[in-house]
Symmetry: C2
Subunit: 197 residues, 2 copies
């Protein structure tokens, strides 16, 4: 095989691998590990039952891989928020909108699922324990406190406020509220009223 063709072929394989991963992410996020059948992942990816096994060892492997990716993504997003321009409120707004876009949403829900489910593969469990979403809140607290000092956010226990806020955002994701449509901007602004004065 010529050099060029080989490179193309490799890329094709990578793309297919990605396609399967994306499909799996969506389904896992919606239904959890136990609730997800390999056949549904295949269907979602538009391929046949068996094909996933040319690209991955097992269902557990895909799941674990995705959880690890999800956590990496989550860490990035959180690190990012610190650098974001604007007031604390604007920072949180951007962060929330980002959390709600398709890709991040699925990652976020995946981790949620992985946390409460039984029978999660060891490595996935470890990844989650290494980076608990507790940490998400802890990293948001300084921003919130700054907002309080600047008089933009309401008084009260930051931890409790942020738990409430994140619960609410998670709830929205779960509802998948198709009724709302793709543009969450309006909703997020309303949601932020939970935190502001």
């Amino acid at each position: 095989m010529p050099r060029i063709a080989r490179a193309q072929a490799e890329q094709a394989l990578d793309e297919r691998k990605d396609q399967i991963k994306r499909a799996a992410l969506k389904v896992f996020a919606e239904k959890g590990l136990a609730g997800t059948k390999m056949s549904i992942i295949a269907e979602e990816a538009g391929i046949s039952q068996g094909l996933s096994y040319r690209y991955f060892e097992s269902k557990d492997e895909i799941f674990t891989l995705l959880v690890e990716e999800a956590i990496e993504e989550s860490q990035n997003a959180i690190r990012n928020i610190q650098q974001l321009p604007g007031s604390p409120l604007e920072q949180l707004r951007t962060f929330t909108l980002q959390l709600l876009d398709e890709n991040h949403k699925h990652y976020f829900l995946l981790v949620q699922q992985a946390q409460k489910s039984e029978g999660v593969p060891r490595r996935a469990k470890e990844a989650i324990e290494r980076y608990s979403p507790q940490e998400t809140i802890e990293l948001l607290i300084p921003i919130f406190v700054r907002g309080q000092q600047e008089g933009q956010f309401a008084e009260g226990d930051p931890y409790r406020r942020l738990i409430l806020f994140l619960s609410v955002v998670t709830g929205l994701m779960l509802q998948d509220a198709k009724a709302i449509g793709a543009d969450w901007t309006q909703e997020v602004d309303r949601l932020l009223n939970i935190l502001t004065k």
Copy 2:
């Protein structure tokens, strides 16, 4: 058997039946129909594996029964809100707090679960179709509109606002946010900021 003893015996049976139903409700609400094992219900009720079958035909029967009860309860709660004293805001506040108490919460989540799950028994499905939670929103709309006219609630599409609000409340239930504790009053007041000016 004397009259009295027989009556006592019957009552004992009813109580056990109730005990099983309560346990089942809790587990079904948390894990859905497919995710719930009869053995877990038994454990939750503090009885042995097989005993539920002296009181109920099958898992499906329990599930269906509970869904039917849940819908009845839901209808009552909604009818109630109309009679509630106070401003629209106060009405909604009371309604929401009621929704969040242990019992109603489980009923509400059960219906949620039943809606999205596959393989729901026919009769349960029918009960749900007969009374969709769409209806919940439609019954809340007049209250919300009145609140808008009185200047207490924010402008905007009532349907969309209420969808958001209910999604958020549902999300809270799902999170079960133990971190928050039993008293939701504070949180509900914050949540209502989503609707008010």
